[in-house]
Amino acid sequence: MSWETIFGQLGWDSLVFTGAIKHPSASEFVAFGAGSIVVLGAVAVVVLLTVMRWWGPLWRDWLTSVDHKKIGIMYIVIALVMFLRALIEAGVMRSQQLAAYDSAGYLSADHFGQLFTTHGTIMIFFVAMPFITGLMNYVMPLQIGARDVSFPLLNAISLMLTAAGAGLIMVSLVVGEFSTGGWSGYPPFTGIEFSPGEGVDYWIWSVTLASIGSTLTGLNFAVTLYKKRCPGMDMFRMPLFCWTTLCTSILMIFAMAPLTVATIMLALDRYAGFHFFTNGDGGNMMNFANLFWLFGHPEVYILLLPALGVWSEVVSTFVGKRIYGYTSLVYATMCIAVLSFGVWLHHFFTMGQSANVNAIFGIATMIIGIPTGVKVYDWILTMFRGRIRITTPMLFHINFLLTFVLGGMTGILLANPTVDFQVHNSLFLIAHFHNMIIPGVLFGMFAAVQYWFPKAFGFRLHEGWGKAAFWSLAPGFLLAFFPLYWLGMNGAPRRTVMWADPAFYPWLALAMLGAVLLLVGTVFLLVQIGVSIRQRRQLAVPLGDPWDGRSLEWSIPSPPPAWNFAVVPQVDGRDAFTEAKKNGQAYRSPAAYSDIEMPCNSMVAPLIGIFTFTLSFALVWHIWWLVVVSFIVVWGVVIARSFVAQTNEIIPASRIEAEHEAFLAAARATPGVTRDLEMSPQNRGKAAPDRLGQPGQKRPDDVLESAI
């Protein structure tokens, strides 16, 4: 058997390390370093798991688990690991541009191309997507009083598909090269004629895996929200985060498909000599642009909407007040979701279509600004007449309000074809979308972690380090991206490995400084987690309600039991837990307990993950026997699963009763803390009614204000 039959196009030269030895250069050394970090990191993890004897627990408690909470946490772990990589890549790009004034800098053009492609692809598909998916996984079932999602195993499979995609992108650091076609992968540049190597194939398959995973997630969550709400939880009583989850899920169902179709068509062009998007022979790349952005624009709202849901939860909790304009916010969210399907063409106003078409899509784009603007004012009005506590999540929220409107303003600018003709493909655009994504989505997820971490792990995160991280991240963002607006207006295109205009220098230096602050802030967040783990006793909030929360997830212990709710709750309004606390219904023993049926662990999902990984790796390197074997195994596992009769286990009522009564007893025995002591060790997760706002506390201006 020849080498090719066994290893396909894989060769010793594919290893990143060979490049550095054969053609030593700064660029190759950077690649060498990155490859080494991946290899050493993987070795370290394996050693750690072996030494600590964690393989068993990892397999039993995590990888085979179908518990939505654990799946959520694993998604977020993937997001954080991938974030570190993509963030370092951003720093490398920034420093290359700083070094490349009128010279070549230290990276080769090809290496720089791979960097912006992996940075963009990872940030979107393997940071932002797993982050929001993990969060929705963790929080949404708890908020609607459910014990799990509708299809727990499918949920685990979605996770493993995402993990396989992330693994593929990590492997590309060590074996072979990645695409240089950008996160949008436009042919014909990414076609076989112009990008013959394995790079684009890595991009195609990692994105395809993530995209299929997200489609399944969307279906799963939408069904869960329709079918699994607890008694009394009408749609219009759901917390806003659930509404945004619903809208995002619907977007995922409809928007991921065009992406999958586009990447598969591109794959057919590359592997099988089709001509969907080639130059000539009937191919037309404009179809790819349409398909990609038919996904791409809804995608930005897939990312943004859950973050907007987080902001709604954070603001009403830390203001201690009902959210202003709930119905308005719901309709605004729905409007955004529906409209987001009708604007994709604004990503290529410059493709030569008629002014009528451009104008219509431009106006459609601006219309999305209306519900978005309404939301911002709704949050401000929620703070109005509240009692604002400036905690770390609130700091992120305030920063969001102020920076998001600026990003919105530049978005309206870009919606104008006349202006877009000038700033399309420029650093102005880069600044715009980072302006939406970083303070909006990324910081939204950071705020969500600060907010829900105590729920997931039973202890709060250290507040001081959280604030330190904020004060590094927020200015870091401003410095890193506001200069790019200016550079873009002065004709600086995106994706340039070098440049020649001396006037750009100070702005790029500021952007570098901003990137450094963003890195520092991220390190602070990691330190925060470390410090909090060490101080977990002082920070413990086992009673589950550290922030005087308003929705159902705060009514159960922290961390919650596998079955979430000992007895399925019954609600009769919005802010169910706040109402229960007010009426003295909280922490009451239920009338009776009954057995609970929960899904068993299953090795189906990790097996599918492993073999879709080998499938896609084999496709990248044309190792056909492995393609066939992996494909058969994946579907074999699916078929085998249908013969498993015992998929659920029964948890006896006695055990649930014992655990839950112990929790209730502890809760009743513990005096609650007021919000003044929220950040003190006295906060064990039980909230006392806040003395502010009690009757008899009226001040003179109250009279005046009630007249408004």
Partner: protein
């Protein structure tokens, strides 16, 4: 991680001295500049529109920068504002919240509509335009002056105050052609044509470039655009026509090879119909490099009616 940070800090610190050095003027270089420094009516209008939108948007942006600090101060824990934990709706507010943005977007939309049509890149900017055919290559631009029978590589000479009509295509991957100080960008795609009309009313040299990533030579794929008065332009044409180099199919084939060019090239003669032959290379099965231009445009219209929305003028 720590290493990277330290190293990044060192890099930022080192950048300061270089800054002074970088500020020295370099005489011969044309630097990129944006529509802020417009040198023609189209770019100027684009920048004006940019400013109009910003001023209109301030109607919703400014209140936020006032309201947020005020609310934060007044309703902070321990602040003086009244606490109304159950207050969550008011029809008056609602009307303003939805009403103001709706009115604003209606105004912005009408401005958008008017501007998009008025500055449509396909819209002619006057009579007697100077026609130039643009072929984007890896990593350079070819300019053909059909009326003058000359061509250039990476150098675009324009006559001041005369409408310019560019017809663009690509000999390779998709690119985006732009001279920011004169007009916006437009994509170039193989087998299809796009158009860009522009006008330069200030004499001078401006940077033009490709803005769509197309590989290793992308960063430096730019060209000098020289805007000169009529007499000077005519002289330049005559001078270029004297050039002995010919742009024919063989020369074009050689140019198709990806390369980074540092010096412009000038061709005194051009094969007639070369632009259409470039287009024809991508028309499936039918026409090949040797078809006549008439055949070619027929075939193209048949196969890609959508590619040439303003095809009527052909």
């Amino acid at each position: 991680m720590k290493g990277i940070i330290t190293w990044a800090l060192v890099v930022s610190a080192l950048s300061l001295p270089t800054l002074a050095q970088a500020a020295l003027p370099a005489e011969t270089q044309v630097y990129s500049a944006g529509f802020i420094d417009a040198a023609g009516p189209v770019a100027a209008a684009q920048f004006e529109h940019f400013q109009t939108i910003i001023s209109l948007m301030l109607i919703v942006v400014v209140p936020i920068f006032i309201l947020v600090p005020w609310v934060l101060w007044r309703y902070r824990r321990g602040g003086r504002g009244a606490y109304r934990p159950d207050w969550d709706f008011n029809w008056g507010n609602e009307a303003v919240l939805w009403g103001v943005p709706i009115v604003l977007i209606i105004i912005l939309s009408s401005a958008l509509w008017a501007h998009t049509h008025k500055y449509d890149p396909y819209r002619p900017l006057g009579n007697d335009p100077l026609d130039i055919e643009v072929v984007s290559l890896d990593w350079k631009f070819l300019f053909i002056y059909p009326q003058q029978g000359i061509a250039t590589l990476d150098y675009l000479a324009l006559e001041q105050d005369r409408p310019i009509r560019l017809k663009l295509t690509s000999g390779t991957v998709m690119q985006s052609f732009m001279i920011p100080q004169l007009a916006g960008q437009i994509y170039t795609m193989a087998g299809m044509t796009t158009q860009l009309n522009l006008l330069a009313d200030q004499e001078g040299e401006y940077l033009g470039r490709n803005t769509q990533y197309n590989g290793d030579g992308f960063a430096t794929q730019s060209f000098r655009t020289a805007v000169m008065p009529k007499s000077q332009f005519d002289n330049w044409v005559i001078h270029t026509q004297k050039n002995t180099q010919t742009l024919d199919l063989a020369t074009y084939e050689a140019l198709l090879k990806p390369s980074i060019e540092h010096v412009p090239r000038y061709y005194g003669t051009v094969d007639a119909g070369l632009f259409n032959r470039v287009l024809a290379r991508f028309t499936a099965g039918h026409a090949h490099a040797d078809s006549t231009p008439a055949e070619v445009s027929q075939i193209r219209e048949h196969h890609h009616p959508q590619n040439n929305p303003k095809g009527a003028e052909q």
